[in-house]
């Protein structure tokens, strides 16, 4: 790390006046506001200002020379320069266009280009704004509306098209930042998160559901009320159904782009009564066909 003397380019024996003069010379070159486009100017200027403020204080300088303190003690606080505001000054109270008015006044390609750019800039489109919106699984299939609170606290009823998938985005034209001048407003980009559902899962255009059935329903068949995203329907369970048997409810899945709908695939799961049943135990004990059947036969080595 260079010493404050090296930073200012003065001898260790320099007088206060010499130090001041060296600093002023450097500050006039390095001040960030006199170098608005130079990102590095701020660091360099800070270094020079720190060095000067240390050496300009006789007590600090004496302690530095005696080795009691190092140069880091004089760090300058972070500050915002005029250039940081001038770059984004909205009303242009200070910025002055007279230095290039000769270009815009003249005919020619450059003048035309500059005029067009200024016009486009003055009337530029507003920025897009991103949002996230969580919706229920069922709403993602059926579509509908969901209320979204915007950045400014206002609310918007977002129309959810049927069949959305998790991560898909909806673009709402004109609901972003207002435009400048005659420029159009930006869009709101809403990324949709589909919340998991305890019953349904999505499988492409189909919806999957696991349905618990009793042993009696499995053996004898029967009818059961089954939930679908669009409401309950009656499903007929064929005689001899098994765990893993998948039944198809036509057109009860997600809408398909270009018309039609996917299906709901209902996978059955045979569930025995939770409490031990003496009657069932007795039946099974005398069920010779059941004992002869090995469901693992041929599946495992």
């Amino acid at each position: 790390m260079p010493t404050p003397y090296e930073v200012l380019g003065v001898a260790r024996t320099a007088s206060a006046a010499e130090i001041r003069s060296a600093y002023r010379k450097l500050a006039r070159k390095l001040h960030p506001d006199l170098n608005p486009g130079d990102k590095g100017a701020e660091e360099k200027f800070k270094e020079v200002a720190s060095a000067y403020h240390l050496l300009n204080d006789p007590e600090q300088r004496r302690r530095f020379d005696a080795g009691e303190i190092d140069a880091s003690g004089a760090e300058q606080a972070q500050r915002r320069y005029y250039r940081d505001y001038a770059a984004s000054e909205p009303d242009g109270r200070y910025a002055d266009a007279s230095s290039f008015s000769d270009f815009t006044a003249e005919d020619g390609e450059f003048a035309e280009w500059l005029r067009r750019a200024q016009h486009a800039h003055a009337n530029r489109r507003g920025a897009d704004v991103s949002y996230r919106l969580s919706i229920d699984f069922v709403l993602s299939i059926t579509g509908g509306t969901q209320r979204l609170t915007l950045a400014d606290g206002s609310t918007l009823d977002v129309k959810i098209p049927p069949g959305l998938v998790d991560g898909q985005a909806i673009r709402l034209k004109g609901k972003g930042q207002p435009g400048h001048g005659t420029g159009a407003p930006g869009d709101a980009l809403i990324r949709i998160e589909v919340l998991p559902d305890e019953r349904f899962t999505r499988d492409g255009d189909d919806v999957r559901l696991e349905l618990a059935i009793s042993l009696v329903e499995a053996v004898q068949g029967g009818r059961a009320r089954v939930p679908t995203p669009t409401g309950e329907v009656e499903l007929s369970i064929p005689k001899g159904s098994n765990t893993g048997t998948t039944l198809r409810l036509k057109g009860k899945g997600a809408p398909v782009r270009g018309g039609g709908r996917g299906d709901e695939l209902v996978t059955l799961k045979v569930v025995l009564p939770s409490a031990p049943d003496p009657e069932l135990e007795k039946f099974v004990a005398g069920w010779s066909g059941g004992k002869a059947f090995n469901p693992r036969e041929g599946r495992h080595a």
């Binding site: 506001d33 005029y82 770059a87 002055d96 530029r124």
Partner: protein, 94 residues
């Protein structure tokens, strides 16, 4: 956040008389509102620049006048350049 004259001199730790002179010179140009002149952070940063010029760099009032005029032109030019860049990007997007 806009400030009236009293809040502004307190914020900048500036003598009212000094501010009057600078307003006279058009070094500081507050926004004109129905409630009187309104100052913002950009004006405070400009006060700091004027101070740096006069106190840190030893620039006299005539020098400050010239420098502010050139700095304002520089920012005008930078804005025009930024506008050109934006409109080039915009037309690339289309």
């Amino acid at each position: 956040m806009s400030m009236d004259k009293r809040q502004f001199v307190a914020r900048c730790n500036l003598e009212v008389h000094t501010l009057e002179v600078w307003l006279e010179q058009h070094w500081i140009v507050p926004e004109d509102t129905a409630a009187g002149p309104a100052f913002a952070e950009i004006d405070a940063a400009r006060v700091q620049l004027i101070r740096d010029l006069r106190e840190e760099m030893g620039v006299n009032d005539a020098g400050v006048d010239v420098i502010l005029h050139l700095v304002d032109q520089l920012h005008g030019l930078r804005r025009a350049l930024a506008a050109v860049q934006d409109s080039e990007r915009e037309s690339e997007r289309r």
